[in-house]
């Protein structure tokens, strides 16, 4: 809130109060009657609420409590002005005007009480209450003015037909009864809201509700005592007593804003929660509990805690699921916790907490170690999740490899051998019945089938495990792979000497899978393979001139990535559409 607006509001309240006092002097300065008390009360209450409200507003600009308090004060001022006007002018229209807004101050006050100390409706019940609450002000008054005899509304001087709507009021009593009932409903709802809040409020929050509740309860008690005395005593109570009760009520009403202010200050200074949090965090926490502890410390049940995973460049929750940070909306705010400038975690909380960034920082600082811990745990869980997925893929890959081998055997060598049997069977059945020449033809067919069967078995065995790789090492194996390839392959570099067998096997597998992809999917016309030692790694790179756009989530490349990851290596796939594919694997050799 700008200082100018604050000044304008203060001046408005001051001016309205002065006018009210002037009206008071004019209306009955020499003979202070009930109206005089009323006006003094109104001016006092109004100034008190506006002043306290402005203080609250400037201290906690984003909390609407201050604004609501100013509104209560101004509503009382307006009410006083109109009331003074009615008394002075004695005009029916002035009465109608006053009557319309007569209950507004109490309605705004009820609003303030209902949403204190958040300053905004957070539950459905509160929202329902606000609607009903304001429905009993101007709309209800309008209905009353239209349907009820003005005399029974407190204006004996008014004509029957106050708003020029015809003068009969057949439903007047019913309307009044409904009005009383709706006011009772508002009062009951307010009581219910306050009671529920009190019951559910955690300790620190109760402390902020306490001053308001205390003054409120005293107010009700004093008022009820006065009413009871009036009813019980045979005659009217002595004027002194009457004035005493009225003064007490006015005094309490004037003091109430200070109670609101005090309550607000107590939420602001709720540092005890930080201490509670420190104690709670010193005990071992099951995963996910930290979020609840922070939510309690900051009185924000909607608080979420997200951990930063540097590997993934993303925030995740305690279970390792990705979390999207809000894009700076109205209700949600984000506080990023950093360590040495790097993000560690993010608190996603209600924007109302931005009122007190110091508290949020204090809570975050208290929880820093635990947050670091949980972040590491979340990271480990995310990695575990990845390992589980990759293990499942490896098993699935093994199964599908076995299916492929079975299929190859069945359709290849086995079928050849069946054909061979058939050819031999035919040859045998011809012995003695046809010429030797024909038998020789059948035997030649059998021999051809046998050669094919042997070739296919060799090919299959090499696909399962290339013997040259274990016998002679990666260099000769890659050379052999290049020689047998259906696409021309240029070998740029091959390592001399032997490497750990797991590294050799993975490197060979990367090369042969990349080569198979280049032939099968990329329609490449040339491939280059290089395998060279780089520091402590073996770097294998296979490039082709094919169509590119390789899908790194396809089962082949996924399997490659898993195999490379199993050696703690890295696999990079660079495959822009139309520009060929380059697959690079870095395999730590541990020498």
């Amino acid at each position: 809130m700008s200082p100018r607006l604050r000044l304008a509001l203060a001046l408005t309240a001051l001016a309205a109060g002065l006018v009210n006092l002037a009206l008071l002097l004019r209306a009955g300065g020499d003979r202070p009657g009930p109206l005089a008390y009323l006006l003094v009360a109104i001016v006092g209450v109004s100034w008190s609420f506006v002043a306290a409200g402005l203080v609250a507003w400037s201290r906690r600009p984003s909390n609407r409590t201050g604004a609501l308090m100013v509104a209560v004060g101004l509503a009382y001022s307006l009410n006083g002005l109109l009331l003074g006007g009615v008394t002075l002018l004695r005009a029916p229209l002035a009465f109608a005007l006053w009557f319309l807004v007569a209950t507004l101050p109490e309605a705004v006050l009820a609003h303030l009480i209902a949403v204190f100390p958040d300053g905004r409706a957070t539950t459905r019940l509160q929202r329902v209450f606000l609607v009903v609450n304001y429905a009993t002000t101007v709309p209800l008054a309008l209905v009353q003015l239209l349907l009820v005899d003005p005399a029974s509304l407190g204006c004996p001087a008014c004509p029957d037909d106050l708003l020029g709507f015809g003068g009969r009021h057949p439903y007047g009593d019913a309307v009044l009864a409904v009005s009383d009932l709706s006011l009772a409903v508002v009062a009951a709802l307010l009581l219910w809201i306050v009671a529920t809040r009190w019951r559910r409020a955690p300790g620190p929050r109760r402390r902020s509700l306490a001053p308001v509740a205390l003054v409120g309860v005293v107010l009700v008690v004093v008022y009820m005592t006065g009413q009871t005395l009036k009813a019980v005593l045979p005659a009217d109570p002595p004027p002194a007593l009457q004035v005493g009760f009225d003064m007490a009520i006015v005094t309490l009403l004037v003091l109430w804003p200070l109670a609101f202010l005090a309550g607000l200050a107590r939420t602001r200074l709720d540092r005890s929660a930080v201490g509670d949090l420190a104690v709670e965090l010193s005990e071992a926490q099951p995963p996910g509990r930290l979020e609840q502890a922070l939510a309690r410390a900051l009185h924000d049940p909607t608080l979420e805690l997200a951990y930063w995973l540097p590997d993934r460049h993303a925030f995740v929750d305690a279970a390792g699921r990705p979390v999207q940070l809000p894009a700076g909306g109205h209700d949600r705010a984000v506080t990023i916790l950093r360590h040495d400038g790097d993000p560690v975690a993010a608190l996603l909380h209600d924007a109302a907490l931005d009122d007190d960034p110091a508290l949020v920082r204090a809570v975050a600082a208290t929880a820093r170690m635990t947050i670091q811990n949980e972040r590491l745990q979340a990271e480990v869980r995310a990695q575990l999740e990845e390992v589980r997925a990759s293990r499942a893929r490896i098993v699935e890959f093994g199964d599908s490899e076995r299916r492929r081998v079975e299929r190859n055997l069945h359709d290849g060598a086995q079928q050849r051998l069946v054909n061979l049997s058939l050819a031999l069977g035919i040859a045998r059945s011809r012995v003695g019945t046809t010429s030797e020449k024909e038998i020789a033809v059948a035997l030649d067919e059998a021999a051809a089938e046998l050669r094919l069967a042997l070739a296919e078995l060799r090919e299959l065995a090499r696909g399962i495990h290339p013997v040259i790789l274990s016998e002679a090492g990666l260099g000769p194996a890659l050379t052999s792979l290049a020689e047998r390839s259906s696409i021309p392959v240029t070998i740029i570099a091959i390592p001399t000497g032997r490497l750990p067998s797991r590294v050799e096997e993975t490197a060979y597998y990367v090369a042969s899978e990349a080569l198979a992809n280049a032939a099968k999917h990329a329609h490449a016309t040339a491939v280059t393979i290089s395998a060279r030692r780089q520091n402590r790694d073996l770097q294998v790179e296979v490039s082709d001139d094919g169509v590119g756009g390789a899908n790194s989530d396809g089962s082949g490349l996924r399997g490659l990535a898993d195999r490379v990851a199993a050696l703690d290596g890295h696999l990079r796939i660079h495959s822009p559409a139309g520009q060929g594919t380059r697959i690079t694997a870095e395999l730590p050799c541990g020498w």
């Binding site: 079928q415 069946v418 059945s429």
Partner: protein
């Protein structure tokens, strides 16, 4: 006699066709998948169909399903299913709807031309043919309580031949025994294994196989 051959391996089915033709069996058609096989059989039912179990599109058990369809739609057409490996489970499925005119043979049997020709003739004539390999698997299975051990060696031979779908007469020829001796063996086997005696060969195959599988 007229047969249809269904196998997606062209070389094999042509070779088999030559073998059958040489034995005086007319090959009415050669097809590469189950759909064409069913179409041919429906258009002009042959005496028998020789069907490879694995055919396009999935290369799993198309031939087996087609064989059962043929048995259901054309009970007079014998079906001989060939496979590169044998599974008692497949054999039992094939026999589920009756053992009449059904055969299940390892493809390797083509090495003995006479055996294949014989099998085709048997299913065309309404007999049953179960590959000795299937029977050997079932007979050789380890059992906690093995009633087969109560049988004599000779009875075990007779049991296996019954399980292969051979008639008494065929068993006589195989084992060089007189019909009376074979009948005595059969009776003795049925008594010892506590099987209900059945006069007809098809139900005898089923009873014996069911016993072996149980």
């Amino acid at each position: 006699m007229r047969v249809v051959i269904a196998d997606d391996a062209v070389l094999f089915r042509e070779g088999l066709g030559r073998v059958l033709e040489a034995a005086g069996i007319q090959v009415a058609a050669q097809v590469g998948d189950a759909e064409r096989l069913l179409a041919r059989v429906r258009a002009d039912p042959p005496d028998a169909a020789v069907v490879d179990i694995r055919m396009p599109p999935t290369h799993t058990r198309e031939g087996l399903d087609a064989a059962r369809r043929i048995r259901a739609e054309h009970p007079q057409v014998g079906v001989l299913v060939l496979s590169q490996y044998v599974e008692p489970h497949h054999a039992m499925q094939l026999l589920e709807d009756g053992a009449q005119g059904v055969g299940y043979l390892l493809k390797d049997r083509v090495a003995n031309v006479g055996e294949v020709v014989d099998a085709v003739r048997r299913v065309a004539g309404g007999g049953s043919v179960i590959d000795p390999e299937v029977v050997a698997q079932l007979v050789g299975r380890r059992r906690t309580r093995n009633p087969i051990q109560q049988l004599t060696d000779r009875e075990r031979q007779v049991l296996a031949l019954m399980a292969e779908g051979r008639s008494n007469q065929a068993i006589c020829q195989r084992l060089f025994l007189s019909p009376k001796t074979v009948e005595a063996h059969v009776r003795s086997i049925f008594t010892r294994l506590d099987l209900p005696a059945t006069p007809d060969d098809h139900r005898r195959v089923l009873a014996v196989l069911a016993f072996l599988r149980a």
